[in-house]
Symmetry: C2
Subunit: 341 residues, 2 copies
């Protein structure tokens, strides 16, 4: 038995392609004192790993991966062997060493967006994979973005970009539950139909015309708040559409991940002219809210008020396909790779 994993074959020149990643094998590692060996069962496929495939990463971010390095990402697995007093064989744990079948984890595990050391997950009767999605970092990102960053209130009109994605679809629905007026944008007619018909969120396809005109059609009086997963031209359009004293939560900037990052918005001065606020954040800064979020979101999932869509790929062989599919906009909701099938 070997430990199959996805590694960076070469640094992508522009858009990520299949040839930039490769499936490789290595011996299954042996846990040393204080370490645990985990058999991964679910891999979270998130756009942010793309940032680390470039030659440089933004100030304050994790360093770039080098060709030959294993990719990393949030994952869920079962402890096979424990040499740590904190874990026992059979424990379900979440951690940051995804994109591989077996993970060796210590107390000083790699940190991703504030998520660090492995944590035991008590899934109870719930599907464990939800702890990578609506009850995990995607849920916490949506929850903290609305509550802490935007301080959303029911009188607000909110625009969520990439609203059919893992975080966006949760943010749009949680905002609706809180009474806000929500509009969403996505990258295909199918995603727009999902938002409109399944989630009840008025939405537009950003390929279909001018962002500003599409926004104005759904929110003729402008918007009060913007949950940004895209950056680039979407952020520019939001700055134009925001009413005075509007707020922006900068969560992601996927438009700039896969290829050359766009320049910043040319209309940033509207921050001054309209007295706007913008705040960037990552879920890892809000882990103190995780229990509260889980209780609330689990309730909405149970009573059907929150719909959780997933796109699931099977096997470690499919992990890089999953990433490419997600980056190109081909997946809806939370993208996962299942190893335990």
């Amino acid at each position: 038995m070997l430990n199959r994993h996805v590694r960076l074959a070469r640094r992508p020149a522009g858009k990520l392609t299949a040839a930039d990643l490769e499936l490789a094998e290595a011996p299954i590692p042996e846990p040393g004192p204080g370490e645990i060996l985990v058999r991964n069962t679910w891999l979270s496929i998130d756009p942010s790993i793309r940032i680390r495939l470039a030659a440089t990463t933004p100030n304050g971010y994790l360093p770039p991966l080098r060709p030959g390095d294993e990719l990393s990402g949030l994952a869920l697995g079962t402890v096979l062997e424990s040499r740590s007093p904190e874990f026992a064989a059979g424990d379900l744990v979440s951690h940051t060493l995804g994109y591989r079948e077996y993970a060796l984890l210590g107390t000083r595990a790699q940190t991703i967006g504030g998520y660090g050391a492995p944590a035991r997950v008590d899934a109870g009767a719930l599907p464990p994979r939800w702890f990578l999605g609506p009850l995990g970092s995607a849920g916490l990102t949506a929850y903290a973005g609305l509550s802490e960053i935007l301080e959303l209130n029911p009188a607000d009109t909110l625009w969520v970009s990439s609203a059919a994605g893992a975080v966006g679809s949760l943010a749009a629905q949680l905002a609706k539950i809180r009474g806000a007026t929500v509009i969403g944008s996505a990258g295909s007619p199918e995603k727009v139909a999902f938002l409109r018909d399944e989630l009840g969120v008025p939405a537009f396809d950003y390929h279909a015309g001018s962002l500003s005109e599409s926004l104005a059609a759904l929110a003729p009086g402008g918007i009060d708040t913007y949950f940004d997963n895209v950056g680039g031209d979407h952020l520019t359009a939001a700055l134009d559409a925001l009413r005075p004293a509007g707020r922006i939560a900068l969560c992601g900037a996927v438009s700039g991940y896969d290829g050359a990052a766009p320049a910043g918005p040319p209309n940033l001065f509207t921050m001054v002219s309209k007295g706007l606020r913008m705040r960037g954040f990552r879920a890892g800064s809000f882990t103190h809210l995780e229990e509260r979020m889980r209780k609330e979101v689990a309730g909405y999932l149970a009573d059907g008020r929150l719909i959780h869509r997933e796109t699931i790929f099977d096997g470690i062989e499919a992990a890089s396909t999953a990433l490419l599919a997600m980056l190109s906009g081909a997946t809806t909701g939370k993208t996962l790779c299942r190893l335990d099938f």
Copy 2:
């Protein structure tokens, strides 16, 4: 007697030049019911008027002036004739119709940055012109920027750009008085000397080398807060230098006023990676703090803790020269044009 005023002769192509402005004459207007006629004594020369000389203005801002239109700006004057029950001849008033010798003001006067209708000024024993500077909009901008926008605390390291300017020099000094560690930047060795030697603020000349290296030399551990009067490359450097959870007050973007506005910062994603906050503002949103600010700042001016530098031009003929000098960086502190000499 005619009313001499500065008007836009033609729309500037790039940098503003003397030929884009002209001194013109018109009859002194007669006040109608509810109106007052004011003889202007001091004109505030502010960079923001440059924004309205372009063909389009940012969303949320005042509309562009057209060739032939009189320039406007904050001003101080004496009521010559009143047909309003609220004012009497001899009253000292502040208002928004500068760049002219006589101003006709009604109750629905033009609004500039939240400053609107004429207001009576009780200068007491203080120089009236201070109510256009440290006790007026410059003071309120610095005060609100530190207290309300940056929520400055004594543990913070603050960078103030354009720190030898009207707002910047007040912000830098007020922050020092509050116990923060302050560094400043300016555009000439003379201004840097003024900051260092007269205000006691460590400073660098942004022409002298890389902004990031200059910042790192004065604040090796990075900065916590940035008071932005410049935008462009300064804002980019601040995003790089800010520590996690840092804050930015966007007050002005003078680098983009006089000519083509630069693109937004290419490193805006550091807002996400470092969890930064940015908020734009104008003093006009904080007029409820004006009395508190005046009391505090007047105290510092009286006891010598706050140094107020001015660059004064004489006569309406010099108003456009004053504006050109300020935009080119040739003035220090508050730039004023005195008509009452």
